[in-house]
Subunit: 344 residues, 2 copies
């Protein structure tokens, strides 16, 4: 039995998570026990609470977390991001932020230069360090003398472990290539640490091809030649930006899945679609649940249910390949089709 | 008489700069006095010098600097970037890094969704602060306990002046729209400073439309809807990444121009193509000089020669609209055509 905490969240979150659960129950009947947690903008507005310690402790007792989407324009910037999403990433030491991007057959991407099936990359984004450490401050606020700082903190420990994960993943893929992305020519201290850790881990993996790119060049090549990437490993902020570009060139964040993973399983990993709560279409049954379902596939994979994960991924491939262009989708109908396919 | 310092630099730098000078001399005969400075990878290898103080002092005596490209894979990362390019940006207080992107008629971009003529945006990138301040360090280097930091420094002074420049530019454009890009939900201290300075300047420009986007969303929308942007103002590192995306979606960095501007003219501004020294094609006469020529047009504009700048820009538009697809270009022939057109 796998114990999953479900945070459906705000906006379209509950709608897409319902489909993900439907698909998981279909592919692995009776294996997952889900407990719902009410967190997000709605709870914040109702109670002022973002993530009570008692809830954090309860979440820690689960095997994994499935999250829909949290947030709403009415919540001040940073409150749910720092107080909930980043809090979970840091508290549960989710140092691998895994973001696969594929241009699926049937999906029209924005690039004239790329054909469906040609892009299949995964960004392994560091999840617990860098500019996300929250090490910043300000002085003389609201005066002409104001200064504000943000500090990127990088440790050999934190950098090396995520690079190891990237190489391990590359070793299980066909092309076995890892691209390190940083900005070593400007961020010389952190860049040097990343580059040296990368070289050290690469030396242990002679079967894996490696390359290095500056983040600006990588942003450009993701647009002009996304086919060239296999596994990309990069820091927290660069990964935030690059994964949205990768999502954009493969059909949009509506299809992008994500996992915040603690690979050792000491803490629960968390899986969530990259898209937000999309309040404009919430409650209408129009949201595409594919990103949530693919996130559930990453969850199954992480819990060791590789066959089930593959069946869910195949269900998505079939769904996308068979969508009639221009026909509006219904969230629950997509979920039904995926569940049926995945159940076999 | 305008006194221009020319740093042709490495690789294709001298080839493309020669065309830019040809065009400038054609459009404004006898107006520009150029002095050449030998800086870049070649000088570094020959003498170990990157930017001697005496040269910096001489450069300061010019009205503007035209730079081709510096760098070579044989120089360790950071040496020329920190020692030359960033040194000049900081020493000459070039706080506006101006990067226009247009999808010119005749140019095929990578996006199926965008037609030539539809994209016309300019990124106003902060040039003297943020993560480029060089405020970082490391401890316990080369041990498992190593930590490395990079600090983003932001001042109200530095942020407000570049935002003012962006609004001034927007006021002179047709759409009069400014998009602030930051990551206020994670970089809460610097983000708040940027957002408050932006709101204050916006209040003085009721005729300018404003919007805010997180950097990850902006990176995505630059790929899916670049048409939506007019003026984008952002910090140093975000601007580095976003301008390469903007270049990519408008036909590549081979066409992208850039100005590092000290708007008050207290110090010389510097103009350079965004592309690098491209050692692989250097000396073959194959480099496209358009980015260098467009950079020279930005230079002319900055020095008050708006008519000449417009004629050069029109020459480029004509050149690009009339290029026969698939025919390899010759650097000097392109320069000749542009000079002839610009001369009228
Ligand atoms: C919401 C925000 C904190 C988050 C991030 O910056 O990591 C999001 O953009 C993401 O990519 O998951
Ligand atoms: C070469 C490097 C220092 C520079 C930067 O990061 O600003 C370059 O990428 C640019 O965009 O001009």
């Amino acid at each position: 039995m796998a114990r999953i905490a479900v945070v459906a969240g705000d906006g379209i979150g509950p709608e897409v998570v319902a489909q993900a659960r439907k698909v998981v129950d279909a592919v692995l009947p009776g294996v997952v026990e889900a407990t719902e947690y009410d967190l997000g903008a709605a709870r914040y507005h109702r109670t002022g609470e973002v993530l009570p310690d008692s809830v954090l402790t309860e979440l820690a007792g689960h095997d994994a977390i499935l999250l829909g989407a949290v947030g709403d324009p009415t919540v001040p910037p940073g409150v749910l991001e720092r107080g909930l999403l980043l809090k979970l990433r840091f508290a549960f030491d989710q140092y691998v932020n895994l973001r696969p991007s594929r241009l699926w057959p049937g999906v029209t991407g924005p690039l004239a230069t790329v054909k469906p099936g040609e892009v299949d990359l995964v960004v392994v984004r560091e999840g617990t360090e860098g500019l996300y450490a929250g090490a910043g401050g300000s002085l003389h606020r609201d005066t002409p003398a104001e200064v504000a700082t943000e500090e990127s903190l990088n440790t050999r420990h934190g950098v090396e472990r995520v690079i190891r994960d990237a190489f391990a993943r590359a070793g299980r893929r066909e092309r076995r290539k890892v691209t390190l992305v940083h900005k070593t020519n400007v961020l010389t201290h952190a860049g040097s640490l990343w580059a040296r850790a990368f070289a050290a881990v690469a030396a242990e993996h002679p079967d894996v091809t490696t390359e290095y790119q500056h983040v600006d060049a990588a942003a450009m090549f993701l647009v002009t030649q996304p086919q060239r990437y296999d596994v990309v490993v990069t820091d927290n902020l660069f990964g935030d930006i690059l994964t949205d570009i990768a999502a954009a060139v493969t059909g949009g964040i509506g299809l992008a899945a994500s996992g915040c993973i603690n690979p050792e399983g000491r803490y629960p990993s968390m899986f969530e679609p990259v898209h937000g709560s999309a309040p404009d279409i919430a409650g209408k049954g129009l949201a595409d649940p594919v990103a949530a379902v693919l996130s559930a596939a990453l969850l199954l994979e992480q819990l060791g249910h590789s066959d089930a994960a593959n069946r869910v991924t195949e269900a998505v491939a079939s769904e996308l390949a068979n969508r009639a262009p221009g026909v509006p989708l219904r969230t629950d109908e997509v979920g039904d089709r995926l569940a049926e396919y995945a159940a076999g």
